[in-house]
Symmetry: C2
Subunit: 310 residues, 2 copies
């Protein structure tokens, strides 16, 4: 729908650093905006010490070459986003044991001495879509990723929503779908959204990896049924102007028409707006940043951090 | 929890008008804050012409006596809140046929010539709770009313959330509860939250008015089960700092401990915060404004409208 690119209103050509921290790889880059990337590197996720040090080395070298105004991080979670908390800037209770309670922001701050913006991966992604991607000029905006896990970020009032902790909308409860007796795969909630539509949930249901389940398998109709139900709940609670979908299960977007159909059918015209009716293809859209959503989001987080410092 | 009263930070002693527009009665008042109400009147809801004219007469007389800085309205819906829309300030597709597509803001604006703040009833209520009630210093804050209907308002980033339309969280979808085969009473969605826990839904389930169902009836356990599930979804999508419950079904709050118990049980400690665990009684609270939530909310809406004009 929208094209990727720099915010046309922006006259900001300062240089930023950005880190996308993922479970299998980190992506680190420097640049001003998605159209002006100076250097990008991928780093395998091993121990926190090794992985972080390589990010720091990259950014210190770049900062020496030409000053960075700030660094932004979009990190796999759970992370502590509460300013003033003793573990602010940490990855906290992650199942990746080596990374539990690891300080991420501290070492970067110490090495660089510039503002460090800090968000979890989906918060960074929603900011990236809002600034540079499929959600420009939409507020509120929701980004929902459906992959190994299911998670969502919210952009509202011109900023990323934190709240008490941060949204965890992958775990919303699901209505029953007639004929579906799959017990759900979430270790916490069984049949929550993530327990029904994540990659591992689809694999548990179909007894093969999600990527190997053919497009005409009835399982996809069920997955779309739950995703449409989740988008209904999100629409009713938050009234977003757009919902951007990303992640491996959404991939190239072939499931979107089915999801939109479920959303419109379930709403039963209760919300009187064309975007929830005939124009639903403008309401539920694919990520415009795709595989770059994480690191471009982190770049947007860097810019926010620089602006917050004035 | 919190006490009702004026914001202690406020030095604002300007006079405002406030209208709570309800299905059976309107409440109109003038005053500066909940502790300084000058005059209050209740008006039976009949035709829009008669009811509105009585509100206008009251406010014009008061405005002559001593100038009002603004008027705030909290109106039964659905209403059009979109500034710039041709029906902004109207009640729109209400089942109350006499009131369909009635301009509310226009006649008041014309008669008074001062700023008119305009919200639906739950949006006004959440603002009232945020400014004067049980939600002070909480942001995001959610207000959920459970009565003839179920509706909710959201306060986030220091203001009432509108979004594409406005939240309609009474209609979120519900998981099945083992042993409950009640088909739900919502004409749109059957087993959505409103279809399972509103006064009419409880009456349909129990074959007598909700107020006549004894406290030890198992139906209340089921109602609490669904309300706890809804609060879980709201918590996961919005991450509010507090949820305030009001409305006739909540009444004096005896159902709250059951609802809190369901919320904590269903979350399974997934959200690591004491407010979603041992301190849940500070997270899910009763309205501090009770029966006055609507009109005190409208007073808060008036103040916002005056401040928006500078």
């Amino acid at each position: 729908m929208s094209e990727i690119g720099a915010d046309p209103m922006s006259k900001d050509f300062r240089r930023y650093g950005a880190i996308e921290g993922g479970g299998t790889k980190f992506v680190v880059l420097t640049g001003s905006d998605p159209d002006h990337i100076d250097r990008l590197e991928q780093i395998e996720t091993t121990t926190p010490q090794k992985t972080l040090q390589r990010c720091i080395d990259f950014l210190v070298e770049e900062h020496r070459r030409s000053a960075l105004a700030a660094v932004g991080i979009g990190m796999f979670g759970p992370v502590d986003l509460r300013k003033g908390s003793s573990t602010y800037g940490y990855v906290t209770t992650t199942p990746k044991l080596l990374w539990q309670f690891t300080d991420i922001v501290g070492p970067l701050q110490q090495a660089l001495g510039i503002p460090i913006g800090w968000e979890n991966d989906v918060n960074a992604a929603v900011l990236g879509e809002a600034r540079y991607g499929a959600g420009r000029s939409c507020d509120p905006l929701v980004y929902l990723t459906v992959g190994t896990g299911v998670g969502g970020g919210v952009y509202v009032g011109g900023r990323v929503l934190h709240g008490l902790l941060h949204p965890e909308m992958g775990h919303v409860l699901m209505p029953s779908v007639p004929g579906d007796d799959f017990e759900g795969a979430c270790p916490f909630h069984g049949r929550c959204l993530e327990g029904l539509v994540s990659g591992p949930a689809i694999e548990a249901r179909c007894r093969r990896p999600a990527s190997m389940v053919p497009m005409d398998d009835p399982a996809w109709g069920i997955v779309a049924e739950y995703l449409g139900a989740a988008l209904m709940d999100i629409s009713l609670i938050l009234s977003p102007e757009r919902i951007v979908l990303g992640g491996g299960v959404i991939a190239d977007g072939w499931l979107l028409p089915k999801i939109r159909e479920v959303l419109v059918r379930r709403l039963q015209s209760y919300l009187a707006h064309a975007l929830l009716g005939e124009r639903v293809d403008e309401y539920v859209v694919s990520s415009a940043l795709g595989g770059r959503a994480g690191v471009i989001g982190a770049l947007a987080v860097a810019r926010e951090a620089a602006e917050a410092e004035g």
